[in-house]
Symmetry: D2
Subunit: 156 residues, 4 copies
């Protein structure tokens, strides 16, 4: 696994564990609700940004007829309430994959405060348009193994 967390990030945002993608973010006005907290869905959109960037980086695309990741299970824990203008670090990693699905883990860490939200998604690869399940392309499998250090659980 090629960690994307520098020692400076780790200290600044109190990040724990290793993550293969990290991105700084400042909480937007549009992400907050009437109680001045980040709406529970806004975290998922931020994690989606990481997933989309990762997919493009792995050589995937989102064109018509192309296979793309569709979330089939999302489990998210909101540990602390993030608020407007908070400085956070968003992190992502890919612990494992199967023939046509993979697992992603996400975290949001607040500056000086550590983990505020953690999540786990199971995604399946489906062909846009037809919606049929497809196998993970070889170049994406290779990226998952080499860059993400993901465990191949596709069986044998």
């Amino acid at each position: 696994m090629r960690s994307a967390i520098t020692e400076a990030d780790r200290a600044e945002f109190r990040v724990e564990g290793d993550w293969t993608q990290a991105r700084r973010h400042r909480i937007r006005w549009s992400e907050c609700d009437m109680h001045a907290h980040v709406n529970h869905t806004a975290y998922l959109v931020l994690f989606e940004d990481l997933r989309v960037a990762w997919w493009l980086c792995c050589g995937g695309s989102f064109g018509p007829g192309e296979p793309g990741p569709a979330v089939i299970h999302f489990d998210v824990r909101y540990l602390k309430a993030a608020g407007f203008d908070d400085e956070v670090l968003l992190t992502q990693r890919t612990p494992s994959f199967r023939r046509s699905s993979f697992v992603h883990e996400y975290g949001m860490w607040r500056r000086g405060d550590g983990l505020v939200c953690s999540a786990r998604a199971v995604c399946v690869l489906v062909r846009s348009g037809s919606g049929e399940k497809t196998a993970i392309p070889p170049e994406v499998r290779r990226a998952m193994l080499e860059v993400d250090g993901a465990k191949d659980e596709s069986g044998g």
Copy 2:
């Protein structure tokens, strides 16, 4: 539990189980993504609508300084892809509660097709502004017991 599902709803949307709140919805343009599917976060906003209506109906409010529900855990399964203009039924129930938290279950059922998405949320009651955890008010507990048929797991 006072079921909100009529026999007509049950047949039309192939609903299973009992639910204390139900609302028809037609998938909006703004809920769909580039792959013509409902975005995974749009389901959560629709379920939030049910939670908010339920909270107001239980005698709760969302005013400054008032206790309101904050999601601390959300687990959602996307079984089928919903699409633009689909006619769906959204359902909610409250299986159990504790001193300052409760569990909600949600479903989205498509006309003639049954369950497309199911979810379970754990919410905690926090005072808006201070963010301190507060006990569920007596009138809300009563509504949970009588209307929702929720199980009191607050211990003894």
Copy 3:
């Protein structure tokens, strides 16, 4: 023009003028921002719902390769701040059209309070996929003339 405003609506929401589409709405939690007001973009999404319903009703579709309306100019005035749980009436009409474009007007009226937001959109018909401008199909022109009472400004 076939007005969609009943006398009861007109009195309840203090609606002025005639409108060919009207829909009741209750402001959602997700439409409000940190200052407890409806975010300025949420009005546009609600007006979009009217436009989409109108387009389907005129015989239009949103399928791949089909012509659909794209907004090219939007002018919106926020007269009063709408807030959470407000009961509002959304209205729409089509004052005029040209060969491949049309004008829409929208209003949001609050119960007992009258107009809170008014807007005017110019939309052009573009073929989804190619993005090429297309003429308004004859059946849509007919609906605009007969149902909406729109003025044909396509010249001669």
Copy 4:
């Protein structure tokens, strides 16, 4: 006016005119609709980010009871359709202000392609909570004059 546009930006995004704030952005999955275009409301949220950052930079805040900008008029022209993963530059300037209101202009420029969207907003300063109109604080007026080169149209 202190221009925020470098010569490199100007060439890369074919920016015209002077702008006091500029920010690079890459179009997100969540900003696109079923027709693979940026939804017409997503532009407004991106411009809101600029307005919010500008307000904080001018010494304003968004706390309870504090004056903050509320949009009362928005006029936006969609010249070209922006799409997923497009690299754009967002720009903002403040041409003028009055006692309790100001005008903002915004632009979205695509890499190698120039202007795709332009907008003009009129904002009024209102006290959060009470909603009463308030005069622009002296330090914000000073920033508007010195940094933005805004024209004082407050009369008197």
